[in-house]
């Protein structure tokens, strides 16, 4: 028997449903993630992000729907499948239970995989160079999170799950983390990222899905989500009366007219579409 499989797709979920007692966590989630892309899932707490991710990771059992992650059903997949995925869970590594050093733990996790990456290289990649000999309980919160990433990628995964990886990071640490994600993507890793930070999704994701009330309410590129690319633009500039704002569907024409009027540079010129945040809040607000 031959089944036609879309080899372009790393993760496919259709009609995912999950209930906890009387509470419906997922009311029919559909997802498709392509090989090699960074796919971000946005949504408020309780929207179903972690439930979805944990079903895809094989941690939770779905009540309904079909799932294929790297061609297998996570609920039944075995060790060979686990060797191809990497997980950075939402819960940071429990430092209170960690008497081992960073290097010991990373080397230990490497021993689980058939073709692990070099532990020293991975420690360097996540920015823990110089911390290899430190006990894990001596690390700061951000450093522990980087260890989480090291443990997630030590097996050289084709698909990496990142569940709110940068919560609690300072801005510089987040920028460094973003560079790490870009490097992984450039190396061909498919990444499913959940985050609360819209700028993070905008900076990293090829595509974004907004989940609310247990459903995906919108999927698109960060630039086009919710009709952003074609939404009414706002042109801002400053003239003799002070700051001015013009709403328009044809911002290029407005800017050209302004350029002619000012005879060159337009003071204080800005052209903006609704931000990802504007679109996001509208999308999740619509679900009440």
């Amino acid at each position: 028997m031959t089944v036609v499989v879309d080899t372009d797709i790393a993760v496919r979920a259709e009609g995912l449903r999950k209930r906890y007692g009387d509470v419906t966590a997922l009311a029919g989630v559909d997802l498709g993630i392509r090989h090699g892309e960074v796919f971000a899932m946005l949504g408020p707490n309780g929207a179903g992000k972690t439930t979805t991710v944990e079903i895809l990771e094989g941690y939770r059992h779905r009540d309904g729907g079909t799932v294929a992650v790297l061609g297998e059903d996570p609920q039944r997949a075995g060790r060979a499948w686990r060797a191809r995925i990497g997980i950075v869970p939402q819960q940071a590594f429990p430092a209170e239970a960690a008497e081992l050093t960073v290097r010991e733990m990373v080397r230990h996790f490497a021993a689980f995989y058939p073709r692990p990456r070099d532990p020293g290289e991975v420690i360097e990649l996540v920015g823990l160079t110089g911390k290899g000999q430190s006990r894990i309980h001596q690390l700061s919160g951000g450093q522990v999170r980087r260890l989480d990433v090291a443990l997630g990628i030590i097996g050289g995964p084709e698909l990496l799950f990142l569940d709110e990886p940068t919560t609690g990071f300072d801005p510089e640490a987040r920028r460094n983390f973003w560079e790490l994600i870009r490097a992984l993507r450039a190396a061909g890793t498919t990444i499913l990222l959940t985050t609360h930070y819209l700028d993070e999704a905008e900076a990293l994701a090829d595509r974004v899905a907004v989940i609310s009330g247990g459903r995906i309410v919108e999927t698109g590129t960060p630039a086009s989500l919710g009709g952003r690319a074609t939404a009414t633009a706002t042109v801002g500039f400053t003239d003799g009366d002070g700051p001015r704002r013009v709403q328009t569907d044809s911002p290029t024409r407005v800017v050209r007219e302004l350029a002619e009027r000012f005879g060159g540079e337009v003071p204080g010129l800005t052209v903006s579409r609704p931000t990802l945040e504007d679109v996001y809040l509208e999308l999740i607000g619509g679900q009440g």
């Binding site: 089944v3 790297l70 075995g78 869970p89 239970a97 689980f112 995989y113 443990l151």
Partner: protein
Amino acid sequence: MTARPAATTGARADAGAGLPGVWRVGLARAGVELRAFFREKQAVVFVFSLPAVLLVLLGSIFRSQATGHGFSVGELFAAGLIGGGIMSTSFQYLGISIATERELGLLKRLRGTPMPGAAYFVGKAGLVLISTVAETVILIVVGMLVDHLRLPASAARWWTFGWVFVLGTIACTLLGIAASSVPRSARSATAVITLPFVVLQFISGVYVPFTLVPPWLRDIGSIFPLKWICQGLRSVFLPAQAAALEPAGTWEHGRIALVLIAWIAVGVVLCLTTFRWQRGSER
């Protein structure tokens, strides 16, 4: 069957090849477990040193009290505390540590890797084996120094010591793994596991000579493995005539083996039916 073009997925299709085996990963787990155990002060002090400290105390207090049967009360305590030590490094340690690891999400994290589930138990078994042997050696040495404990003098006694140690350790290990599912949180684990363990030590002949325990408590103690481990150890370390002090009047080796094997069977069933890699609320 699933057909995939070899060009894009050929390398992935054989990802299963070369997965490290259970024993190799299990030994790696044991190494990590041992390192963590001996670096963790609470484990070393609470689980490992407490029986030795109690042995020094009880032995010093009762060392000179003769029983009139050719051995001292100190030797009696030494034999009992070796039994308590076996249960401490197996049952008590595993019950607390696995409950804590589950609560903190460590088990879940391991489950998210290709680590074979069995390797986790190989690692715990390796830790228990080494720490229990070390604990027993320490208690025997302390017993010899403080209580004039005598090493088994015959091959038959060493054989008895061997099988009592092995069966007792296996039974307590399995029960410790099963008991780890009882505490609802890491914080309560120490109390939930330790309280019944301490009670059991009082009614099984560890802290109090078994003959001094009221019969109804003896009956309760006789249900659990610790009483039988201690009885076996008395037969190893006390003179032959001490058997007359046992409730049955003999060492009952056959019954000891039977009870311990029965508990191993119960332990296996409990472990297989109750063990969870995630907290109870997560499924």
